[in-house]
Symmetry: C2
Subunit: 264 residues, 2 copies
């Protein structure tokens, strides 16, 4: 027989799915639920913890627990990379107008808030290995956050790395204030004579760290999608490594593989 907290979670899940508890509605308090199901408060909390991990409810201290409103899904497609590259040769004004985030979500530039921070940093063993440089080599570490206006959490946490000396030829690239938001890494690299030939995405899933959950505006148990994006240039040199952390409950990564035709 299933545990009490599992049965309570199932019952509440059903009530939410059926619309009996509509999005935005405040759930009964923990004490009320405990009385209703004839269990103790910690048991109710265990049940709520499951629903929170599934992204169905949102508990706010001092306020209450609420049925989560469906948030717009972000579909991040392969097509995005081709689109970003093609964009690098467009005039600056047009590049400014629409970035990759808008391309993914179908929303407008005004819907977003951007934040960027740059700092030089020595390469650890892992990054040095991927870049094929000596550990300790100076890297440019760029931190990006994209927030949807009027929403609680950011869309993604991006940590991007470039080899410092490779991009230093254009001083503008070392300055976060000069960041040609939104997007435009292909264009930035073009100014120092680099063309990206291919991009490899490595996708994994894991539970969020406490800090990540807070930044992404997700409950403590909601999974995150982690993407390591490795960009290789036309001389087979790894030029950029990006680690992207996205909320798993609202992100879909889409990859299309075109296959060769069979010989007739």
């Amino acid at each position: 027989m299933a545990a009490k907290y599992e049965r309570i979670a199932s019952d509440l899940r059903r009530k939410i799915r059926s619309g009996e508890l509509p999005p935005g509605r405040q759930m009964p308090s923990q004490t009320a639920l405990a009385e209703h199901y004839r269990v103790s408060v910690p048991t109710v909390q265990q049940a709520l913890g499951i629903l929170q991990a599934e992204g169905m409810i949102d508990a706010v201290q001092g306020l209450g627990t609420f049925v989560r409103k469906p948030r717009p899904q972000v579909r991040r497609t392969t097509d995005r990379y081709r689109w970003e590259k093609a964009r690098a040769h467009l005039p600056a004004e047009q590049r400014q107008r629409e970035g990759a985030a808008e391309h993914d979500t179908g929303l407008a530039f005004e819907d977003f808030e951007f934040f960027a921070e740059y700092h030089p940093e020595p390469a650890d063993d892992e990054l040095a290995g991927l870049f094929a440089v000596e550990p300790g080599t100076r890297l440019l570490h760029r931190v990006y956050r994209t927030r949807l206006r009027g929403e609680d959490g950011v869309l993604s946490l991006i940590d991007s790395y470039l080899v410092y000396d490779v991009v230093a030829a254009n001083p503008d690239l070392l300055d976060a204030a000069k960041e040609p938001w939104p997007g435009g890494t292909h264009h930035q690299l073009l100014t120092v004579g680099i063309e990206i030939d291919r991009i490899t995405d490595e996708v994994t899933a894991r539970p969020p760290q406490a800090e990540e959950a807070e930044l992404l505006g997700i409950g403590p148990g909601v999974s995150v999608l982690k993407l390591r994006k490795i960009s290789t240039d036309t001389t087979d040199r790894v030029v950029e490594i990006s680690d992207v952390v996205m909320p798993g409950d609202r992100t879909v990564m889409v990859y299309t593989t075109q296959l060769d035709r069979w010989p007739q």
Copy 2:
């Protein structure tokens, strides 16, 4: 100040990372940890729950809690699809010898155990929409499990759907006993005159359902990667939909996007 259970989790995490608690080692019992950290048992359990979600430890009822041994990672690459398709024209004997699972893991056929089960099923609204058929249309639902010999959990849970009438032209395809394991969907479809043109993967992350966690041999909080694979044939018809659930702590999905060169 951080909660007690967080500090305990961090401390144990550090001891595991540093090798003080090596893989395979039994952790001190919950009561022993409670005494050591001067907290109650439920607090210790909360801390252990975090590490279990991170896939670092494994609690077995009646036996003890153990530091998890690193399990071989499965890298599932785009290349896999091209490889599978090219394989469809090889002689049967050679196809039997190496399937996709071996291709991903680099292990041999003998290391795996396979399980397949087929049954017809009416299409629900979601699948009907994707196949562009009427809801209720008969589908062939195929359930696959692949287990690594000598390991606790299966590598992936696969639910594959085909439109029944499309594949019924070859009765062998309707019979799980005739399953040409390992792998071979491209070849199966070839026998009814279908050639796959492209495959779209939609990747998401979420916490596991209790049953999935058990089947995959992961702790209750460890994230799973969910892949919906949609295969479209050369006449732009969706011919197969596969839902694949994989343990997030040992699966890496790898996708490489080749970009067009800039005009010189």
